[in-house]
Symmetry: C2
Subunit: 114 residues, 2 copies
DNA sequence: TTTTTTGATTACCAAAAGGTAACTGATTAC
DNA sequence: GTAATCAGTTACCTTTTGGTAATCAAAAAA
């Protein structure tokens, strides 16, 4: 009997891992939704998500900028304002997030209800 | 201007979080794929995934059993064998994982290539 | 008899993630 | 002058996560 090859399995997994790096974790999707909803400024986003700390928000927004989900622009001025706007590209995630949501809805039924 | 309501946003997010609890993290999808590929016994699965430790595999397999992704059966016997088999239900994740993979493939192009 | 293999569990330690609070610097309102 | 707001940064500490190695019981192989 041949030994099993696992290379294939692992390489197919890299892009899945990539995606989870971008939207996995506790806050990323929450932040994305907040920005999609119209929250633009740092404090505005922060206040819109209970329990989210300044530190984590700053880190997550940086990641999201690198991943082209939001654009950060500094509005020169008075009490220094920063604007985070969602990119068009970020909307390609909506389908993925929908799939995650649908499966989750069904999974609850599978584990509890039914 | 009305204050924004975030209740809706948050409740829509619960199932997404549920799904990420089930397949998020470093190992869950790897283990699932390993089992789908035909690895059945604890050591077999362990050896199929480099860097995965006994402790983490044991914990993850328990979670996966609770979530009905695998069935654990003890084959009474000689050096005590345990069998993990993927459920039919686990296959409902293939669509989700595919979406994650597709987005990841495209994302690499977006961030690097192009 | 000793070693090996099986599927785990446990104790112990290291690393990573995350929270809190203080502080920056500029400006406006009181 | 004092306080507050904006967008963070930093230091410090706690919690969570994860890895390593030892151990268990039971049987087969040496």
């Amino acid at each position: 009997m041949k030994k099993k090859e696992h290379k294939e399995c692992l390489s197919a997994l890299v892009p899945v891992k990539d995606t989870l790096d971008v939207i996995g974790g506790k806050w990323k999707i929450l932040i994305l939704i907040s920005v999609w909803e119209g929250n633009r400024h740092f404090r505005e986003i922060e206040r819109s998500i209970p329990k989210l700390s300044t530190k984590v928000l700053a880190k997550e927004l940086k990641d999201m900028e690198v991943n082209k989900l939001v654009i950060r622009t500094v509005v020169n001025g008075f009490p220094v304002r920063t604007e985070y706007t969602p990119t068009e590209y970020s909307k390609t995630l909506q389908k993925v997030i929908n799939e995650l949501r649908n499966w989750g809805v069904n999974h609850r039924k599978e584990i509890f209800g039914k």
